[in-house]
């Protein structure tokens, strides 16, 4: 069965390019979202196999969204990978401490995006 992946970014163009990249290189079912609040709702209703999420987003940013996911028993097991420009060692440690499984640095190679994700998740 095809994996369901939520792709979350407030930048519309990034979202579209990343979605296109994953659709062209994987059999995954991709859903795109722009707000952290939408992620919480969607995960609670239908937990995906993976959330690929931007860090700097308005209102509820990526780390806060992840923290909320971990607090909710229905979503606490959802794997999360961050897609971000903030990839300093301190940032990575913070994401890891929150429960993120990996970090994909921006800008990314569209063809290698899926490979990077799989490598970090052990898929």
């Amino acid at each position: 069965m095809s994996r369901h992946v939520l792709l979350v970014d407030d930048a519309e163009d990034i979202l579209e390019v990343a979605r296109l990249s994953l659709e062209l290189t994987t059999p995954w079912r991709i859903t795109t979202l722009r707000r952290g609040a939408e992620v919480l709702e969607r995960c609670a209703a239908d937990p995906p196999d993976l959330v690929i999420m931007d860090v700097m987003m308005p209102e509820l940013d990526g780390p806060s969204t992840l923290a909320r996911l971990r607090q909710d028993p229905r979503t606490q097991g959802v794997p999360v990978v961050f897609l971000t420009a903030r990839v300093h060692a301190a940032d990575r440690a913070r994401y890891q401490a929150l429960g993120a499984l990996g970090v994909i640095p921006k800008p990314f190679s569209a063809l290698e995006l899926a490979e990077l994700i799989c490598a970090q998740l052990g898929w």
């Binding site: 407030d10 930048a11 519309e12 163009d13 990034i14 579209e16 390019v17 990343a18 296109l20 990249s21 062209l24 290189t25 722009r34 700097m56 987003m57 308005p58 209102e59 420009a85 903030r86 921006k106 800008p107 990314f108 190679s109 569209a110 063809l111 995006l113």
Partner: protein, 700 residues
């Protein structure tokens, strides 16, 4: 004419007289009786014993016969005996004495026709005085005269020598007493002036000095002497001291002072041009004939000199020179001490000024860990006044911080360290403090110091800087991510050329390239503006024309968005940079168009508010919430972060507008009219009004 033999009778009688006078005077030291006895033995009409004051040439009548005669002194008579005659030789003028010495008042006074004189000398042959006997009639014979005179002269010489020795001893005792008194003052006085004043009084009394001066080397001009003090024996009238011929007066001649400084030896001299000084309390004008000067020695260096002015040659000169040398050394010590104290006070004043001017909190503890110094910076930092903190144990005064500081000192005594610790203000708010701790020892006492800087502002600046860097990084990487991702897919040919996906990838690459370029331009523009590298070209401008032009530039975009642009302006001249003002107008109008719903209207107006022209851009969009109105002009601040992407903004437009308007001396703000939408407005200074622009009023 009587002869000596006739008048005296047998010589034995005369010798008996002499013997009885000598016996009568034995041990009593009575020179008048001896002189009287000699006159009687020699049947002389008058006799006079003159003494010379301690080799100084001053003559003093010691005894005379008859006693009530009160003879005038004569230098001629004294010189006659002391200079012309070798010791022990009697000069005898048997007749015509007054004709031979017509100007001698004593010979005239006693109506002398004949006299015998001899010089009295001490053991070393140095003159002590003169002994003279006078006769109103010429002498025809002189048996026993020389023998009797010599015999009595021996007795008188012994007496005079004893007197002189006693006088010298007394003089030396006075000097020694003065020296001791000065030594005491040296140890107790706080300034050189006090010591010198007291020295002059004490030594001056011992020397019978009337006036003194202190010279010191001029600190501003090397090698020059500066008179820093002038005193008189009666120092109460010091201000009245004057010289008859001030310009030429030897009393203001510093040559002797310079000489003693050069030679580092005391010296005395007669004043060539004698001057009078009314330095007695009685107002008597005293003739000052001599001066004594000695150097003030600080170590081996002569740093000044003191002069004493005397009405006569100083007595006991070798002892005096020795005494003054000791005085000079003592005064030098005082001077050194005074200079050290002055330097210490200056250093202390500098230290205090630095400590009190410092914004940092500076705290010094004594060896009991109590606060000894709590500067103004500490008062500002912690909110506690020094009066409350000085004397308090640090651990009590600053409960948490104090304990940690003390542990630092205990863990690493003597080490200087820089560490950040948390403190608390008196009002309770927390303080991040950068603490520099030190430790020093003065003699047995141990001190600990800590300089604390409130780094709240720096932390905030660091936070803002990090945030800005992160935001810029994010803003730059977003279009880059899109471009790289899209080009990667295009390069890999995973999409069909001409397909919808292909067109999307090309389009998104183009759009994000433009966005990236705009972002880079805005960032550079902003930084040039902030750093002052971008200079404004100010000129009088017709603002209404600029508004109309800017509106026409944006009219196609407005029409495309279905928004009406209405411009209502009247002529108004401002001093501004035309390109920059147009940049602000375009930015505000573009924003208004972006956020206006279709079929709505944007009104551009220009009104005068006093000396300023106010430009208003009013839209009927969703408005700016109150909490964003101040921050909306900050870099990258968005009311809704998705706006930048949706409307292709960079997040820097309003920040650039604020910089431009600010540098013109104006303000820019946004308000929300009651009927909805927003009104952005900015001001520029008018020049079509009489008010002149003060130089520097405009930010350059």
């Amino acid at each position: 004419m009587k002869t000596y033999q006739q008048s005296m009778g047998p010589g034995l009688v005369a010798w008996q007289h002499v013997a009885s006078y000598l016996a009568g005077c034995a041990g009593r030291g009575s020179l008048p009786e001896l002189v009287d006895g000699m006159a009687r033995a020699l049947e002389a009409d008058a006799a006079l014993l003159l003494s010379l004051a301690d080799g100084a040439g001053r003559v003093q009548a010691v005894a005379e016969a008859p006693e009530d005669m009160a003879p005038p002194l004569s230098f001629e008579t004294a010189g006659l005996a002391t200079e012309a005659l070798p010791a022990g030789i009697i000069r005898l003028v048997s007749g015509g004495a007054r004709a031979q010495y017509p100007r001698d008042p004593w010979l005239r006074a006693v109506a002398a026709e004949a006299f015998a004189a001899m010089a009295l000398t001490d053991d070393q042959g140095l003159p002590l005085g003169t002994l003279i006997v006078a006769f109103r009639e010429p002498l025809t014979s002189r048996p026993y005269l020389e023998s009797i005179m010599r015999l009595l002269a021996c007795r008188m010489e012994a007496e005079l020598q004893m007197r002189r020795t006693q006088a010298q001893l007394a003089h030396q005792q006075r000097l020694n007493a003065a020296l001791q008194a000065v030594a005491v003052r040296v140890n107790t006085a706080s300034t050189l002036e006090e010591v010198v004043r007291d020295t002059l009084i004490l030594v001056g009394e011992a020397l019978s000095s009337k006036m003194g001066r202190l010279y010191l080397e001029d600190a501003r001009e090397a090698g020059q002497l500066r008179q820093v003090g002038l005193w008189t024996a009666n120092h109460a009238v010091a201000s009245r001291v004057h010289c008859d011929e001030r310009r030429r007066c030897s009393l203001i001649d510093a040559r002797l002072a310079r000489r003693v400084m050069r030679e580092r030896q005391p010296r005395s001299e007669a004043i060539r041009r004698q001057s009078t000084c009314d330095c007695d309390a009685t107002g008597d004008r005293t003739v000052l004939t001599h001066r004594v000067a000695f150097p003030i020695l600080a170590g081996t260096e002569a740093v000044g000199a003191v002069e004493f002015y005397l009405p006569a040659a100083p007595a006991g000169e070798p002892a005096l020179m020795e005494t003054t040398m000791a005085l000079g050394t003592m005064l030098g010590r005082v001077l050194e001490r005074q200079r050290a104290v002055t330097a210490l006070r200056a250093s202390e004043a500098r230290f205090r000024a630095l400590v009190e001017a410092a914004r940092d909190a500076i705290v010094v503890l004594d060896d009991a860990d109590c606060i000894q110094l709590w500067n103004h910076g500490a008062e500002l930092t912690f909110g506690h006044p020094a009066s409350e903190m000085v004397g308090q144990p640090l651990a009590l005064a600053l409960p948490e911080l104090g304990g940690r500081l003390l542990r630092l000192w205990e863990d690493e005594p003597g080490a200087a360290r820089l560490i950040e610790l948390g403190g608390r203000h008196q009002d309770g708010h927390e303080l991040p403090l950068e603490c520099s701790v030190g430790h020093w020892q003065v003699g047995e006492a141990c001190f600990r110091s800590v300089i604390m800087r409130d780094v709240s502002e720096r932390h905030e600046m660091d936070r803002l800087k990090d945030e800005f860097v992160a935001t810029v990084s994010h803003e730059l990487r977003t279009p880059l991510t899109v471009i790289r991702g899209a080009l990667g897919l295009l390069e890999a040919k995973v999409v069909e050329p001409g397909s919808e996906r292909h067109d999307f990838l090309v389009g998104v690459s183009m759009r994000n390239t433009d966005r990236l370029a705009a972002l880079v331009n805005d960032i550079l523009d902003m930084e040039r503006m902030r750093s002052g590298a971008e200079q404004l070209t100010l000129a009088p401008l017709e603002l209404s024309t600029l508004l109309v032009d800017a509106a026409e530039m944006l009219r196609p975009l407005a029409e495309q968005s279905g928004v009406a642009l209405v411009v209502e302006v009247s002529p108004m001249t401002v001093l501004a940079d035309a390109d920059r003002v147009v940049q602000v107008l375009v930015n505000l109008l573009a924003n208004a168009i972006k956020f206006s719903p279709p079929e709505s209207m944007i009104e551009v107006s220009l009104v005068a508010t006093g000396a300023m022209a106010q430009v208003r851009v009013r839209d009927h969009g969703r408005g700016v919430p109150a909490e964003h109105r101040r921050r909306i002009f900050e870099r990258f601040h968005q009311v809704d972060a998705s706006d930048a992407r949706a409307h292709q903004g960079t997040g820097l437009g309003l920040a650039i507008c604020r910089e431009i308007v600010g540098r013109h001396g104006g303000t820019i703000e946004v308000s929300s009219p009651p009927d909805g939408g927003s009104c952005f407005w900015f001001t520029l200074r008018r020049v079509d009004r009489p008010q002149a622009i003060a130089p520097g009023e405009l930010a350059s």
